[in-house]
């Protein structure tokens, strides 16, 4: 009896499995699409951050240009160019006089 019932249910089970598979496929596809939107947002964010990094690196290059460092050294640190006689070169056991 129970075997008969089982075999009678087989078509329904098959249809159920088929429909379940289709639903799963649709759900998976929706999930992929949802993740696609997340990736789109994330990749836009990556681009934005890369652009920001570029701006920052430009700012860094601008601030560290020799002209700027020189200005800063002279105005803020009160440094100046070495004049003749202010540089002493040490060469091994010898000492070169002012240049």
């Amino acid at each position: 009896m129970s075997r008969l019932r089982g075999s009678e249910c087989l078509p329904f089970v098959s249809v159920f499995l088929l429909i379940a598979t289709l639903f799963s496929l649709v759900l998976l596809k929706m999930e992929v699409r949802r993740m696609g939107y997340s990736v789109l947002r994330a990749s836009q964010e990556v681009r934005k951050l890369r652009d920001h990094q570029r701006m920052m690196s430009m700012e860094y290059a601008h601030l560290t240009r020799p002209e700027q460092i020189r200005k800063y050294a002279m105005s803020k640190l009160t440094l100046n160019d070495a004049r003749d006689g202010q540089i002493i070169q040490l060469t091994g056991q010898k000492l070169a006089l002012p240049q």
Partner: protein, 651 residues
């Protein structure tokens, strides 16, 4: 019951089978109409503009790079209140409201540019207004963070992002960012559907171009040249520094410079890279190559003597004379001819060589041909075709009647400095693509050997003599280092009328150091100075200052050791030595925290700076420099010890 189930099952089976077959047919057998329909319905095209590659100096310092910027446009038909929009835009764009209103009023147009390349902050402000009909298009903007540095070498990029001049043009193929079109599936709202983000983020940018230029050397060269043109009231100056061993160009300057961020507004005249594009008569710097050719041909030795006719000789019916009337040389050796820059002596060497041999010698040094540097617009120079009349031959021997570029002169001196090999100079060290591709690296190629190593060594010694105390190049000397080089003073050719420009000169100095083991080759020219004109007075000091900077920066130890400038530490202790030794001791003693440091001779500021890491309270008495301290230097002290500094005026 069973049969009904079977019928139902078969029905489903047939239906599904039919559907599967139809699907399989659609998939397996292509149908153009359906394909197009699908593409229209489900696909969208997006444009990705990749970033233009950066230009870097030899140490990776950015000289040019592209950053995103946004260009503002309007669709006048969609703008409802153009008065309001124009007045708001005028405020932020800082332009008259009327000019914007005029553009917004014309409803027949659907697209007008309002401002190209505005910063992100301005874009955000305008978008907040939510005015229909205003929009932005992202465009890359070329930025030169160093402003004027290396301006004529870098060139220009047009508003469409393509290189127009200089390196930007030469390496366009590698630098350019690509505009890529990508087809992606879209959703009902037209948004692209991504399976991953790579298509938006991993499109490689244009390759970075790494130069051989050192941006600090470049700055120093430009600074010295700018000072020189101000001092001598010149109209311009050029300078080039090359690595003597690798033929890499380390600095290439043309002043006045231009601001690259606003480059297109400068005249073509100012934008020209005169180091490679201007051919001019360079004067006596060419004498070195006449002597080198004669040396190579075995015609002379450094000690070979030439009669110089008291400073004046008639050649081919024309008088050839020394630069100064009081230079009445009689007998000079070849070394002295270079040292005193004798026109008559060099002319006699050239006459002995003959035109064919001299022409061949100059061609060997690269004159009359492009050097092959990776820059557009390089001039060949002008070398007259053979035969040369004796007078022309004599003129060419001292740098007149032949036009050369600064690069050619510097490269020819590099050949002498490196042991006799002419190389193709290089300005680009490597091209570094993004996206994992292998970098392309460049090295200078040997063109030909001109001199044997011993001949090159002899030339270096002779040129070192040309900067000795009584020589014309004395002002090019750098204390502590052997400098080899030659001055040049030439009249400027009038390109319109012909002949020479009255009071128009180009002063120059070409040389290298250290002469015994050259590291740097430098060539400096000053165009049309008003205060003086001799290369020995104008260009040589500029050379010396640049050279001094280079050797100190590179940490080249002084090699010119003699009793006059060096004293053995064990033999005599000069005041200077004692001071230096005391400084060293002081540095050592400072490291011992429980010993009071030696502050004698320091100013108050210097003394306090040395004390700043200590917790001691300090009393100060007097002004000037520290003459006494309590406690004394070297005695034990604790943070609780009260310190007294007694200062006195050194006078």
């Amino acid at each position: 019951m069973k049969s009904r189930i079977l019928v139902l099952f078969s029905l489903f089976l047939v239906l599904w089978g039919a559907l599967t077959l139809r699907a399989a047919r659609l998939q397996v057998f292509p149908d153009v109409r359906l394909e197009n329909l699908k593409r229209r319905q489900f696909e969208t095209s997006i444009q990705i503009r990749t970033r233009r590659g950066a230009i870097l100096d030899r140490n990776g310092h950015e000289l040019a790079a592209s950053v995103p910027s946004y260009s503002l446009f309007a669709d006048p038909k969609l703008i409802q209140n153009h008065w309001d929009a124009a007045s708001r835009l005028a405020k932020v764009l800082k332009v008259p409201s009327r000019s914007i209103r005029k553009r917004l009023k014309d409803k027949s147009k659907r697209f007008v540019w309002l401002r190209r390349q505005v910063p992100q902050s301005l874009k955000d402000t305008i978008l907040q207004w939510k005015v229909a009909g205003l929009g932005f298009i992202e465009e890359p903007k070329r930025v030169y963070p160093n402003g004027n540095l290396l301006s004529q070498v870098m060139g220009l990029v047009g508003s469409e992002g393509s290189g127009l001049e200089g390196l930007e043009l030469q390496f366009e193929k590698h630098l350019q960012g690509q505009l890529k079109h990508i087809l992606l599936p879209k959703d009902a709202r037209g948004r692209p559907l991504l399976h991953d983000g790579r298509s938006l983020t991993e499109v490689p940018d244009g390759a970075d171009v790494q130069l051989t230029i050192d941006h600090e050397m470049q700055f120093q060269m430009e600074r010295e040249l700018t000072k020189a043109i101000a001092q001598f009231e010149a109209i311009g100056a050029t300078g080039i520094v090359m690595d003597a061993q690798t033929s890499e160009v380390l600095a290439m300057a043309t002043v006045p410079t231009i601001n690259l961020n606003d480059g297109s507004h400068f005249s073509h005249e100012l934008r020209r890279n005169r180091v490679i594009a201007d051919a001019f008569e360079s004067g006596s710097v060419m004498k070195s190559f006449v002597v080198a050719t004669a040396l190579k041909d075995g015609l002379l030795k450094p000690s070979t003597r030439y009669y110089c006719h008291g400073g004046r000789v008639k050649i081919g019916g024309h008088w050839i004379q020394e630069a100064e009337k009081d230079e009445k040389f009689e007998w000079l050796t070849a070394s002295e001819i270079l040292a005193y820059s004798s026109n008559v002596g060099t002319a006699k060497i050239a006459l002995a060589l003959g035109d064919a041999r001299l022409a061949s010698g100059l061609a060997d040094f690269g004159f009359g041909a492009k050097s092959g540097l990776e820059l557009p617009g390089e001039a060949r120079g002008i070398v007259n075709p053979l035969p040369w009349r004796p007078h022309l031959l004599a003129n060419i021997s001292f740098g007149h009647g032949i036009a050369v570029t600064s690069l050619q002169v510097a490269n020819a001196y590099t050949a002498i400095a490196n042991g006799g090999v002419l190389r193709k100079p290089i300005l680009v060290k490597a091209i570094r693509p993004h996206g994992g591709a292998e970098p392309i690296e460049f090295q200078a190629e040997d063109v030909r050997r001109i001199l044997t190593p011993s001949q090159a060594s002899t030339m270096r010694l002779m040129l070192a003599g040309a900067t000795s105390e009584k020589s014309t190049g004395a002002k090019a000397r750098v204390p502590g280092y052997f400098v080899a080089g030659k001055t040049g003073t030439a009249q400027k050719v009038d390109p319109i009328k012909g002949g020479y420009i009255k009071n128009g000169y180009i002063s120059s100095f070409a040389g290298f150091l250290p002469a015994d083991n050259p590291r740097y080759v430098i060539y400096v020219t000053i165009d049309s100075p008003q205060n003086g004109y001799y290369g020995s007075q104008l260009a040589a000091p500029v050379f010396a200052r640049v050279a001094q900077y280079l050797v100190r920066r590179a940490g080249v130890a002084p090699a010119q050791i003699s009793q006059s400038n060096v004293i053995g530490t064990e033999v005599r202790r000069s005041r200077l030595q004692a001071q230096a030794i005391r400084e060293l001791k002081r540095m050592n003693s400072d490291t011992a925290a429980n010993v009071f440091p030696d502050l004698l001779g320091l100013t108050l500021r210097e003394a306090l700076r040395r004390m700043e890491n200590r917790a001691n309270k300090v009393d100060v008495r007097g002004h000037g420099v520290v003459v006494r301290t309590v406690p004394q230097a070297g005695t034990p002290s604790s943070p609780k010890t009260r310190v007294t500094l007694v200062l006195e005026n050194p006078d």
